[in-house]
């Protein structure tokens, strides 16, 4: 399920439209992940406050969405551009890759709440494929 030229165009165009709210998108996605899939909290036991809108959640959301924006800009070489992040997740954070899919679904839900008209089925599919490709690139160094 690799990204076609059209998928890449769709992702870039939609991301350009929504990047003004990048901070909110990231923060809401992380907050949702922790609330809707509470098993993901196990990776954040070092945070003082895991509630939606808290400082650590907002900060982490910002970090995640900045990386996604970076990936959109380097969409032609996701594996290459995500090498360091992959090593981080594989050796230091040791996040089970199944969680990438969970965070991806939460990002899509946030986009649906914020951009109900622009988040058409075609955009949804392109983004789902992109986030899947991102997850694969992040899993590269695991084993």
């Amino acid at each position: 399920m690799s990204l076609s030229a059209k998928d890449k165009e769709t992702v870039k165009a939609f991301w350009a439209k929504v990047s003004g709210r990048a901070g909110d998108i990231g923060s809401d996605a992380v907050a949702r992940m922790l609330t809707v899939y509470p098993q993901t909290k196990t990776y954040f036991s070092h945070w003082k406050d895991l509630s939606p809108g808290s400082a650590p959640v907002r900060k982490h959301g910002g970090i995640v969405v900045a990386s996604i924006t970076d990936a959109v800009n380097k969409i032609d070489d996701l594996a290459g551009s995500l090498l360091t992040l992959s090593e981080l997740h594989a050796f230091t954070l040791r996040v089970d890759p199944a969680n990438f899919k969970i965070l991806a679904q939460n990002i899509l839900v946030v986009l649906a709440t914020m951009f109900p008209v622009d988040f058409t089925p075609e955009v949804h599919m392109a983004l789902d494929k992109f986030l899947g490709a991102l997850a694969r690139a992040l899993s590269e160094k695991y084993r």
Partner: protein
């Protein structure tokens, strides 16, 4: 037996009172067929599913969307026994329709997105969590009679 908190019960009933079945059902099914095109294998008799525009305007797809919503409404009305409510539907999907049960959550994910789009900021993380739990129980009940 699934344990529902009072907040979850109220939230689920509230969601279903706010959404328009005629819009959400068809939108969720067509989104599923577009975003996960392999699910089209179960709808070979539905006619033109050639592209997104065809799927969205296909009357059989829309009709099926409404059927799905009616099924979900049964679960909302019987939240303490969703398992029994869906025994026949589970057998139907397993023996007659032969749907890969992993596909149930694909439709569930699309439903979450369509409901999220309808409710906007009212689809808060807590509301989302209740809805996701409801979907998980529905999917588990539909899987129950498989083999």
């Amino acid at each position: 037996m699934v344990a529902w908190t009072d907040l979850e019960r109220v939230t689920i009933k509230d969601i279903f009172s706010k959404i328009d079945y005629e819009v959400v059902g068809p939108a969720a099914i067509s989104r599923c067929l577009i975003v996960y095109p392999w699910t089209q294998r179960y709808f070979a008799g539905f006619g033109n599913l050639y592209n997104a525009a065809a799927i969205t305007s296909n009357p059989k797809v829309a009709a099926h969307g409404k059927v799905v919503m009616q099924g979900l409404e049964k679960a909302v009305k019987n939240m303490d026994n969703i398992k029994a409510t869906f025994t026949e539907l589970s057998t139907l999907h397993s023996e007659k329709l032969q749907v890969d049960p992993d596909n149930f959550m694909l439709l569930g994910d699309c439903l979450a997105i369509v409901v999220a789009a309808q409710l906007g900021k009212d689809f808060t993380p807590v509301v989302h969590a209740a809805f996701q739990k409801f979907l998980a129980v529905v999917v588990s009940s539909l899987r129950r009679q498989y083999y």
